[in-house]
Amino acid sequence: MDKLQTRNFIAARVAKEFKDNDVVNLGIGLPTLVANFLPDDITINLQSENGLIGLGPKPNEVNFDRDITNAGGQPVTLLEGGMYFDSTLSFSIIRGGHVDVTVLGSLQVDETGSLANWIIPGKMVPGMGGAMDLVTGAKKVIIAMTHTNKGRPKILKACTLPLTAKNQVNMIVTEMGVMAIKEDGIHLIEYNPEYTIEEIKNATEANLIVNEPIKMKVEV
């Protein structure tokens, strides 16, 4: 898989986690692609922390409106039934547990479900934006990312970068597999048959609990 295929593969698998009527917040980058793979038979309410629910696809020349953007500042549209609100209500929704699933990228995730994705001291200081609130408040936190960074594991025994939140990640989806984070550690529950279990373990610093994982089925 090339880079784009990998990203789409991950995004398509994440999209299978949603249930009818879920309120979902998709982070910037890879998670944004998840919107392209939403199932047709259920209703997903995409929330954007800058103040809307009912996030629709990118506008064309006809329905472009500079006053409608997503949390990345990109032009978007509003689906029928959607609505706008201010930042305080937006984060009441997020912090208050009214978001069912948030999908975020990450630099690091560890065995305790902690994650680090907002700062590399001395190098990159974008700020946490809404990410800290999202991972703290959402009922389910899914990390969507490539399994490694230039060959170096991103799924660690313990994060080394400053944390975004402690013990909040429930699931990790990568091109290699799907992992659930539980009390006793990270369980590999699905694997991409393009890789052997051994290859996946080698690409993971954290201990992977492997107990009859099933094959990932993703149609991109």
């Binding site: 500042g73 305080t88 984060f91 200081v125």
Partner: protein
């Protein structure tokens, strides 16, 4: 209209070293024409409170480029690389706050609260130097109210009394900032006679001056 202010008189209401909240999210909901006038005036040593650092060449990024900002309080500066560079070079102080906490702190400042307890940031460097309070068996960070001298907001529609409506995603931080500063100046895209009393987003009592944008 009583509260109408000519943009040329904005200079009478700003001073070096002041703190300014600027509405908007990646410039959406920022009254760029008022920010541009702050650049013209050249008021300096500002503390800016805004969701982000604007976009290169747009919104408060211009004040940052022009060296007028001493301290930036924001949740995210990633889309304006210059902000990060100035911060790393020690030329601009930058205080990063989780977005929901930023909204709540401003709200507390406007609502007369002494602070709020949020779970956001527990176990991270955000909690450093702050009081941790346990309620109902869970740890929370005590976050303090945030206020400023001036708010610069973008009202899509303002009525003759100063009531404001913000359209679509331009709303974001605008209504909450309207409650938390000593002086509130709204840049209006349009001024109408009267907004439906059910749909007012910022009541006129919060608005000191309205500057009409030349479109």
């Amino acid at each position: 209209m009583k509260k109408l202010l000519n943009i040329n008189n904005l200079k009478d209401h700003v001073f070096d070293g002041m703190s300014i909240m600027v509405g908007g999210f990646m410039v959406v909901g920022t009254p760029e024409f008022i920010v541009d006038e702050l650049v013209n005036i050249g008021v300096k040593d500002l503390t800016l409170i805004c969701n982000d650092a604007g976009l290169p060449g747009k919104g408060i990024a211009k004040l940052i480029t022009n060296g007028q900002v001493k301290t930036l309080i924001a949740s995210h500066i990633g889309l304006n690389p210059e902000a990060g560079q100035l911060m790393s070079a020690g030329k601009m102080e930058c205080i990063l706050i989780p977005q929901g906490t930023l909204a709540e702190r401003i709200r507390a400042g406007g609502a007369g609260l002494g602070g709020i307890l949020t779970p956001t940031g527990i176990g991270t460097i955000v909690e450093e130097g702050k009081q941790i309070i346990n309620t109902n068996g869970k740890d929370f960070i005590l976050e303090l109210p945030l206020r400023a001298d001036l708010a610069i907001l973008e009202g899509t529609t303002v009525d003759e009394y100063g009531n404001v409506v913000y359209t679509k995603t331009t709303r974001n931080f605008n209504p909450v900032m309207a409650t938390a500063t000593d002086l509130v100046i709204v840049g209006a895209r349009e001024i109408i006679k009267r907004i439906d009393p059910d749909n007012v987003m910022t009541p006129h009592i919060f608005v000191d001056y309205v500057i009409k944008e030349e479109l």
